[in-house]
Amino acid sequence: MIEDLRRLAHGTAIAADICVLGAGAAGITLALELGRSGLRVCLAEGGGTEFEYLESQALYQGVNVGIPISLEGGRLRYFGGSTNHWGGRCAPLQDIDFRRRDWIPHSGWPVQRAELDPYYVRAIEVAGFAKPWQSDADTLAYLRAVLPAVDARWLMPFLWHYTPPMKDAPVWKWANAYGAELRESSNIRTLLHANFAAFTTGMNRSRVRSMTVSSLNGVSATITASTFILCCGGIENARLLLLGAEQNSGGFASQDDLVGRFLMQHSRGPAARVVSAERMTRVQEQFNILRGADGVEVEVGLALTPQAQESERLLNCSGVMQYEGDPDSGVTAAQEIWRSLLAGTWGPNLGDKVGILAEDLGSVLQAVKLRVASGHSLEREASAGIPSRSAILLLDLEQAPDPQSRITLAQDKDALGLRRVQADWRVGELERRTALQFTTHVAADFARLGIGRCKLEPWLFDGRLAMTDSLHETYHYIGTTRMAESSAEGVVDRNCAVFGMENLYVAGSSVFPTAGQANPTLTIIALALRLADFLKQRPQ
């Protein structure tokens, strides 16, 4: 059932086997897995079913003291969490992402990729894919994509899978997909507008006894459970542990001062402009968003090979092509006319553009057909289908773990009287070197293969320019409650249990010790499924 805390009696006591805080991808996945196994689950979500800007969402406001991050805009505090603005782009982390890399301090997971493989298979289903993914080679063969022979010493094709559209959403959204099951479930009690207010612990602070949740209109409830799981995202998970330690004068992995450290984020942005004297028709059939008749949709790009990362001592990095309209194309002319009309003007050179459009009407009709058939945004489709002579190489860049890049508690308090978050996000020079090397490899290969010539962005080679002025956030906040073998190296153990706490767990990207270059959602789900399996086997 789904209830609204605001409508419950103040002081309501709720008992459950497991309390899950946060109804995003991790929280909903965990609640369903555990609930289906017969356990009594209380799923507490701070927001409601819709975005509430001046109410719940404002609780995410905080202070930036480093490179600014979107504390408020980058996360969504309502049912479904940040999947509500998710693009549906999925890829697993690679083997090398889990390994200890001696050139990257603090790298290495206590689990390896092979251990996650079966959970990735299940995660694909949870993320809405109708059938298991084929291998990359088989997927490309199915899509009839023949890629050019890139230099396998440095580069390899990399595929991102897009979740299929839903009836009521362009990509898979947890609230839309699983809301009905949660509503109908008899042993999952979902509580909306239930914001974390306090933890109470036993005498030695090693066991959470209860959690108090409050609504913004002053209704509180106390949840007692044998197990508590924080699923509130890469920033809030750390904040809640810091608040728990403050409220209880210790515990919550506070002993080693690692909670909140190692804040990372994938950076995304333009690394080079690829130009060609001819139309890039062939390349657009290779490095692009490709679709099969049965709904399979993948984006094909390039990534650094593990060997290149190792030999050149680099982070992980990948790139995709975002095509620019050929000014001589009817599609570009139509787009420019359309944008001008939306802005309430005819725009410059209207006559010329209409002439180009009329001459190239076939391309325009084909582009319209593609957009209508796919149901995706015009922006994304324009990049995929537009006749082009140039493209932007967009990077997705791993960030190195840095203990100085961190989340702490600010002095300001939120509407519930809890200290707000303070972020000190830092990005190092290894990220720039990785981006430069990757882009150089791509540029050299594109020239060798006759694909096009690359002009690299100045931030890659001019150390005076701040990288983050040219790159933008992905809202993938990672690493603040990192998984490790011991409390001296991290906050949670290999089972996502908080060190020093008997019954407190963390799920989400905050437990990733390193970020890889792939979007984190699939790994978040895989780890949530693994944690659910672990908890199901434990006596509650």
Partner: protein, 141 residues
Amino acid sequence: MNCNPQSEAHAAAGIGRRDCLRGVIGAVLAGLSLHFDRLLPWQQSDLEHWLRSFGAHAIGDGALLRRLGALYLAGHPEECDRARLTHLLSGAHAALRGSNVFESVARDWREHEVELLEGWLLARTEARVCALLHLTQGAAA
């Protein structure tokens, strides 16, 4: 011929007797250079053709490629000499031929012998052809 594109701005400053002498010597040298150029197995049009074949025309027009050549020479002043560049581009071969240059460019891309000039990534051989074009154009002018 000018290895430093920034120094052109100073050329218009006052002309004295010493400058006149330099001018005469320069003209004689330029004349000799042009004479020997005719003996070389390449012409400016060859350089332009080669660059087009490399796909460098996607980068920009001849003026841009010459500017990139000048930038290359600014970073490699020891190569600021047509004979030296011709020798480097010829490699192990007796003469500078298009086929040799194409092989060299392909090898540069494979081995990442590259130059980053104004953000453009060029094969080193390609950058040297641009440099030669810059020097040749300078001499012709």
